[in-house]
């Protein structure tokens, strides 16, 4: 495997077409932080499988088209070469391209905003990275989340952008635990668990979940382990708190938790017992934030996408290099300062 990979990398370094393909595959891989073209291929396979199984091939086409456009936009804007090579301008694009055909109906207007959104995702990646770099923190998938929120919200204002599956907007209301919930079998739980990694790519399919986990395993066993654990923690916590069984079994409490667990446990901090406990706290909190944002966003009838992962992981990465708040006391200089 590693030989094949180095042969490929070698070939890609010499041929501009192969290099372009390589960059795009790494872009797919970076959705779960993997700078690995084979991992990216597995992730794309997960999308294609899920799209075909669900009878929505336009999701697979959208993902690939948007991935390429996002990468090309970065090249046109002359973004940092080393970063480009790692695929860091593709991962938001692939998600934009998978999301738009999932929630909006096929049509010329949909493809128009998908193309615009894919190009914009690279601009937003540069913008968010610029801001977050101030605190040595990555943009994560926030460029995807922000861009796609803007795109799909338009369906409520533009008559030529009909909704495929989303909303309707509704006020949140408290759900009462009936105590008569149907019990989940072990198979139900296993399938729900596999759908967590699949839903990172907005795919509701357990086979896609396997492809995602295998893709991770190829590149980083640690990442695969934390992805599996993150999905399991999300399953347990959401069931214990009495979340909607429909959401739980569709993996909708799992995808952000998977990303938080991998980011905190295996990517941005050096793995250790303390880091694992910290990642566990973050993963549990991601499940709470998923429930919270589902309610908060209900009145505008759009999905949270990976916002729970982004917000929690930012909060858990930011403290990294500075554990010292501003004191509660007089500030020095500036407005109302005594003149010297």
């Amino acid at each position: 495997m590693s030989d094949a990979l180095s042969t490929w990398t070698n070939a890609a370094s010499k041929n501009p077409v192969l290099r372009f393909i390589d960059i795009n595959l790494r872009g797919a891989g970076q959705v779960i932080f993997q700078n690995n073209p084979l991992t990216g291929l597995f992730f794309l396979a997960a999308i294609v499988w899920g799209a075909i199984a669900g009878g929505q091939i336009d999701i697979a086409i959208g993902a690939v088209v948007a991935l390429v456009i996002a990468t090309v936009t970065a090249i046109i804007l002359e973004a940092d070469e080393a970063t480009l090579q790692q695929g860091l301008f593709g991962f938001n694009g692939v998600l934009v391209g998978a999301a738009v055909p999932t929630f909006l109906a096929d049509g010329a207007a949909m493809w128009f905003i998908l193309v615009v959104g894919a190009a914009v995702s690279t601009v937003v990646m540069l913008a968010v990275s610029k801001v977050m770099k101030t605190w040595e923190t990555p943009a994560l998938t926030f460029p995807f989340v922000l861009t796609t929120w803007f795109l799909v919200l338009g369906a409520y204002s533009f008559g030529h952008l009909p909704i495929a599956s989303m909303g309707p907007p509704a006020l949140p209301h408290a759900v009462a635990a009936t105590g008569a919930e149907p019990a989940l079998t072990a198979v139900d739980l296993f399938v729900a668990w596999l759908k967590g990694p699949a839903q990172v790519f907005l795919i509701n399919n357990p086979v896609s979940g396997v492809l995602v986990l295998v893709g991770l395993l190829i590149s980083s066993p640690f990442a695969a382990l934390f992805a599996a654990l993150g999905a399991a923690v999300a399953l347990a916590v959401s069931l214990v708190l009495g979340a909607s069984l429909g959401s739980v079994t569709a993996g909708l409490y799992g995808f952000s938790a998977v990303l938080t667990a991998v980011a905190l446990g295996a990517v941005f901090y050096a793995p250790s017992l303390r880091v694992t406990l910290f990642a566990l706290l973050g993963t549990i909190f991601t499940v709470l934030v998923q429930g919270a944002l589902d309610a908060a966003i209900a009145p505008i009838g759009i999905p949270t996408f990976t916002a729970p992962f982004v917000f929690v992981t930012w909060l858990f990465l930011l403290p990294k290099a500075d554990l010292k708040p501003h004191p509660h006391g007089r500030m020095q200089g500036g407005l109302f300062a005594k003149k010297p």
Copy 2:
């Protein structure tokens, strides 16, 4: 023209009363980035014309009162002198003062919050500028947007602040394209196009749009060109996507697009073909974001103001000086770092 302007500037530099008037006129001009008192005079004329034509003279009074209060507040707070002279503490005030009487009914409570809001707009300008300066990015009209959101939202909590025209709060719902939309004539399109620049000042009047464009032309032909193009792009994109005809013909898809086009195409980047294409992408995206924010804000029954312009232009200006995101890999130092 330029002779008259330098005579005025010369006179203003010697007489404190003329200088104060000069600063306020420049403040009006800075709404569309023009440091030019004559341009500001045209912009104020656009507001006054629209207010009188609409039978709401309090809008014109509000705009001038708030402009002066915002400027005076900056003087009292001893804000940076060079910035003050350019009118950069007035443009948010003039917009606060035009917006409040547009959406809230006349009365003592309305004037009270208008005065408080005008003073606060300068504080918010200083605060937002401080934050955005970190990334060498301007505050744009965000101080106006944020301050005025707070002011007009209060109408839903305070009984003595009745609403003039705003809301009612409603959940967004998908609009179906009927296919039976009435066709717009060339005159309809021309009037709708002119209302884009006018709505920058919350004025629904094509003559005001002419005054705004002429005011721009005096100061910067490039800015006038991009304003005209921005309004045209917004008209085309919103019609193609099937936006509500009522909103399109009132110029409500145009004003943010005008500002984005001028900001990206003629003010903050040096004009070139590549910059023009970049500004085009930003302007198209502004139209999508306008539709998105209209839906997102519907449940709380307030206008978006120029938020679509602010958000998109920030995203398109931020990448400017750094095209390098944080890598997806271990971070150095800090929390959980190995002890030396």
Copy 3:
């Protein structure tokens, strides 16, 4: 008093158990910026009194448990020692712990999220402090607000987290002043005024308000004065604007205004006449923002907590050291810059 305090401080410096208690008491005191264990004891007494009087002892237990967990989390994460000693990792915890049992019904799930939220509040404090430190501005109670929003919103998604008192979610609607409002007696006004300081700790009880003011007086007469003035200004402005009498008499327009007045008038700027006028503007604006956020948050059925204080105080502290916005002109370098 001051002798007793120095005896205590001396004892605490020698005994780890007393030191831990001291840190936690200071944590309670820091809710209103006081690094003083006796003040913290008075604030805890205010919570305990209000909880017992309201028949909800779980609020007092929650506050103490969360305070301790937040502090312990800071110790485990090896946060800055000097900051820890001042109690700056406890004040968000105590508020999380008072808020959760106020709005959610008692039960295992509630205690689970309270414990998770208390630990997370310290992580969020570190994260927000890291960001705000860029502009030499404190995190204020935003970690409490953000963490608790996430926790209580979950009640709309998780069946095992029933609501005690919150919501229901509703679209805001304009309130008409009837002109037939019942007049408030002097006693009504006095009680409403005392509830402002009490509601800082989410307690609806005038005796608790007295305990809070006395706690402040012990530590800083200036802070006590501005707290009293802030509550009075909030009472006057909210009545003049026609706010709901139920909210006014429960102190719900007072708590954020109290915090803004103390922060701007007595803590972060050196007291002076100009600072007092600036604090007055900020306090009045806090009342407007309270009304605004009450309306904006109504569709998702959660309280604003101290968000009005946080947002306004940030806006009024940020300008401190830099009164110079970015000019409206071409930017240097970077994207689209001429190649050298």
